[in-house]
C-alpha cells in the first residue's frame, strides 16, 4: 500500500492520529500531523512511498502539530516534536510540510551514526554516484533537481549516507528542497516536475519542495559506489568549467560537511580516505543548467 493509495480523508485521519508509518528506506518514520496543508503536500510528495502497518518498528516518531490556544486562529503556527519532545521554535503553519522535511533530515543526521553522513546531494548513473557537497546557497539542490530530470537517479539532495564497511552510499530519494529563484528556474527547465505551492518568508526565503522522480523512488533501496566528488559553484553567466580539486582539501571539506564525522573517530577517517580513493575530485563552475547537464553527461561517459 502506498501513500497515494489512501483517500485524502483516510490519510488525514491516519496521520492525524499518529498512525502513519512511511517507509523511508533505510528508515521508517511514524508521523503525526494535524495541519491540512502539510497533509496535502505529504500526499503529493510521498505518493509513491509505502505505508507500513502500525505495529511496525519506527526509527523516528515525528509530530508536527498546530500550536494551541490563540495561535490556532491568529497567524497560526505549528511546532515540530521529536518523540513527543518539542524541538525548534514554532513556525507559521504554512511551513508545516517543510518542517516535516527539515525535521526528518535532522532526525537522520542526529541519530543515524551507523552511517557516515555527509551534507551533500547524491546522484547516480550506471552504478556510479556523484557526491555534491556544498554549503547552502551554492546551487547544489537546483543542480541536483535538474540532473535527476536528465538521466540521473536521485539518491538525496541533502544527506549522503555512507556505509563505512562497504563504501557504498545510499539515499532516501525524498523531496528536493528548492528556494527563491531556483523554483522558477526548475519549473522552466523541467515542466514535468511536481512542486509544492511555494511558501514565502521562511528563514530560507521562499521554499518549495519537488517530488522525487518515480524511478528514483522505486530504486531508492539500491546503493551506489561513489565515483566523483563534485563541488558545484553557480555563477550567473559563467561558462562551464570542470577542474581537478586538491584531494587533501577535498577530504577536509567532506569532513567539515559531515554531520557526524567527528563522532565516528578513526573509523570515520578511514571511511573518508576510502571514499577519496574511489573518487575523482572536481570543482564545477557553471551558469547554465543545460551546460551542467552536458558536463555531467561527459563525466558519466568517462572510462
Amino acid at each position: 500500500m502506498k501513500v497515494g493509495d489512501l483517500s485524502p480523508d483516510a490519510l488525514r485521519r491516519q496521520v492525524g492520529e499518529g498512525n502513519l508509518l512511511i517507509d523511508l528506506a533505510p528508515f521508517v518514520a511514524r508521523l503525526r500531523c494535524d495541519v491540512d496543508s502539510a497533509v496535502r503536500n505529504l500526499a503529493s510528495m510521498y505518493a509513491a512511498f509505502s505505508v507500513l502497518p502500525s505495529d511496525h518498528f519506527a526509527d523516528f516518531h515525528i509530530q508536527v502539530m498546530r500550536e494551541p490556544g490563540l495561535r490556532r486562529w491568529y497567524r497560526p503556527q505549528a511546532r515540530f516534536f521529536f518523540d513527543g519532545q518539542p524541538s525548534f521554535t514554532p513556525l507559521p503553519s504554512d511551513q508545516a510540510f517543510a518542517m516535516i522535511e527539515w525535521g526528518l533530515n535532522w532526525c537522520v543526521a542526529a541519530h543515524a551514526h551507523q552511517y557516515l553522513i555527509i551534507h551533500a546531494a547524491v546522484i547516480e548513473r550506471d552504478g556510479r554516484a556523484a557526491l555534491l557537497p556544498a554549503p547552502p546557497g551554492s546551487g547544489k539542490s537546483t543542480l541536483c533537481a535538474a540532473l535527476v530530470h536528465r538521466g540521473w537517479r536521485l539518491l538525496s539532495d541533502e544527506l549522503a549516507l555512507i556505509d563505512m564497511d562497504t563504501g557504498q552510499v545510499c539515499g532516501m530519494a525524498r523531496p528536493v528542497n528548492l528556494k527563491n529563484e531556483s523554483i522558477d528556474v526548475l519549473r522552466a527547465f523541467a515542466p514535468e516536475a511536481v512542486l509544492t505551492p511555494p511558501v514565502p518568508d521562511t528563514l530560507k526565503g521562499t521554499v518549495s519542495l519537488m517530488r522525487p522522480p518515480l524511478a528514483s523512488v522505486q530504486r531508492r533501496r539500491e546503493p551506489a559506489m561513489p565515483a566523483w566528488i563534485v563541488l558545484p559553484r553557480y555563477t550567473a553567466g559563467s561558462p562551464p568549467r570542470l577542474v581537478a580539486h586538491n584531494r587533501a582539501r577535498t577530504s577536509l571539506l567532506i569532513a567539515e560537511q559531515s554531520f557526524n564525522y567527528d563522532i565516528q573517530g578513526l573509523r570515520g577517517f578511514d571511511a573518508l580516505c576510502a571514499v577519496l580513493d574511489r573518487c575523482e575530485c572536481l570543482q564545477f563552475t557553471y551558469g547554465d543548467l543545460d551546460d551542467a547537464v552536458r558536463a555531467f553527461d561527459a563525466l558519466a561517459a568517462t572510462h
Binding site: 519506527a58 525548534f88 521554535t89 543526521a109 528563514l203 563522532i263 565516528q264 573517530g265
Partner: protein, 368 residues
C-alpha cells in the same frame, strides 16, 4: 497502554529481548534514548554476544548510541590529559569527579555512558590558582554577567563552567564536594582526605571507592530535579556491583557514611537501588544502613517519591524536566555538529518547553 519501563526491565534481564515485539523495541529504543541508557544496553548485549540477535532496525540505534559513547570516552581521556597538563606546576591537584572519574579509573560503569562536562574538585584556597592555570591554557570564563558570576561563586559549589576556546569542551570546577543545603551537615572535607591516584597516572586522582559511592548517592538524593535519575541510579548500581566484591567494602561503606554524616543518602541509595534495580546488597548491610532511615511516615513518603522519580521514562508519565534535559544534552553536546542551514531553522535559538520544577509532583517533596 500501561507504561512499562522496558529499558529498565531489559537492562536487568537482557535475555528477555527474545520476547520483544517490534512495538516493544520501538518503545524501548525511545525510552533508552530519553534515559541516556541506549549505549549501556548496547554494551550489555554486546558483552553477551547478543547484539547480533537484535532485529536489524532497532540494532542500528544501539550501534549508533555506542558510536557516540565510544567517541566520548576517547574525548574525555584526552580532555583529562589536557587538564592535567594545564594544572601541572600550579600546585593544584587534579581530582576528578563523576563520569570523568569513572573513565580515568577504568570502571565498568564508565562503559556506554554519555559524558558532557568534566567535573573536578579543587580545595577552596586553591581556586584562584586553578582558575588562573586554566585561563592560561585556553579555557575561557563563562559569559555570565558580573552579578551572576558573584552569585555563582558565592552560592553554587562551583565556579561558573569554563569552556576551552579551541576544543569547545567544558570544565566544571567544584570547590565543595557536597551540595550546600542547610539540612545536610556533613564533613565534606573528609572526602578529599582519602583520594587515590588513578592506575598509570600518578598526577590524576579520584575519590576512594566508598567515597565515590557516597558522593554519587548524596548528589542523586539531594537533587531537586531528577533529570538523569535512572541513569545515575544505574551508576550507583554499577559502582556497588564493582566494588561490592572487594573485601571489607560494605563495612567500610556504612562506617564511612556514619563518620562523615551521609548515612541518610546512603540508605536511600541502597534502598532504591535494591528495590528498582535488584542490586545485590548483603542483608546485614541494608539493616545496618537503616540507621540512615528517617522516621516512619517520612520514610514511606520519600520512598514513594523516589519510586516515582525513577519512573518509566515514557511520554505519558514523562516530566517536562526530563524532556528538557534530554534535549539539552543534544543542545549542549558538541558531538552534534549542526551545520548552519539546520541551525537556521532553529530561528537562532532552540526553544524548549522548560517548565519549572514546581510542575512535577516529586520536586515538591524535598529530601529530608
Amino acid at each position: 497502554m500501561a507504561a512499562r519501563d522496558l529499558i529498565r526491565d531489559v537492562l536487568l534481564a537482557p535475555e528477555s529481548i527474545a520476547s520483544l515485539t517490534p512495538l516493544d523495541w520501538d518503545l524501548m529504543i525511545r525510552q533508552g534514548r530519553r534515559a541516556n541508557l541506549l549505549a549501556r544496553l548496547a554494551h550489555v548485549l554486546n558483552a553477551r554476544d547478543a547484539l547480533d540477535s537484535v532485529p536489524s532496525a532497532p540494532r542500528q540505534h544501539l550501534v549508533s548510541a555506542m558510536r557516540i559513547t565510544e567517541r566520548q570516552t576517547i574525548a574525555v581521556r584526552h580532555e583529562i590529559a589536557c587538564i592535567a597538563n594545564a594544572l601541572e606546576g600550579s600546585g593544584v591537584p587534579l581530582i576528578l569527579l563523576k563520569g570523568a572519574a569513572y573513565v580515568a579509573a577504568d570502571l565498568p560503569v564508565s562503559v556506554g555512558r554519555i559524558f558532557s562536562d568534566v567535573d573536578i574538585i579543587v580545595p577552596r584556597p586553591l581556586l584562584g590558582q586553578a582558575e588562573s592555570a586554566l585561563l592560561q591554557h585556553g579555557w575561557r570564563g563563562s559569559t555570565l554577567s558580573p552579578y551572576d558570576q558573584r552569585y555563582y561563586r558565592r552560592w553554587m559549589h562551583e565556579l561558573p563552567p569554563m569552556r576551552h576556546f579551541r576544543r569547545d569542551t567544558t570544565i566544571d570546577v567544584h570547590h565543595n564536594i557536597l551540595p550546600e543545603t542547610a539540612r545536610l551537615s556533613a564533613d565534606s572535607h573528609a572526602l578529599l582526605d582519602n583520594v587515590v591516584s588513578v592506575p598509570g597516572h600518578d598526577r590524576v586522582f579520584v575519590l576512594q571507592p566508598v567515597d565515590m559511592l557516597l558522593h554519587s548517592a548524596t548528589h542523586l538524593f539531594h537533587e531537586g530535579e531528577f533529570i538523569s535519575a535512572l541513569r545515575d541510579l544505574f551508576d550507583i548500581d554499577g559502582l556497588l556491583r564493582h566494588f561490592g566484591s572487594r573485601p571489607g567494602f560494605w563495612d567500610e561503606l556504612v562506617r564511612r557514611a556514619a563518620a562523615v554524616g551521609l548515612s541518610r543518602p546512603l540508605y536511600y541509595a541502597l534502598r532504591v537501588s535494591v528495590d528498582l534495580l535488584r542490586t545485590e546488597v548483603p542483608k546485614d548491610v541494608l539493616a545496618t544502613a537503616s540507621i540512615g532511615r528517617p522516621a516512619a511516615p517520612l520514610a514511606w513518603t520519600m520512598e514513594r517519591c523516589f519510586a516515582l522519580a525513577f519512573q518509566p521514562v515514557h511520554p505519558s508519565v514523562d516530566t517536562a524536566a526530563v524532556k528538557a534535559a534530554r534535549f539539552a544534552l543534544y543542545v549542549r553536546s558538541h558531538w552534534l555538529r549542526m551545520p548552519m542551514h539546520l541551525l537556521v531553522y532553529h530561528l537562532g535559538r532552540k526553544a524548549l518547553l522548560r517548565t519549572t520544577s514546581a510542575d512535577t509532583p516529586v520536586e515538591t517533596a524535598r529530601p529530608a
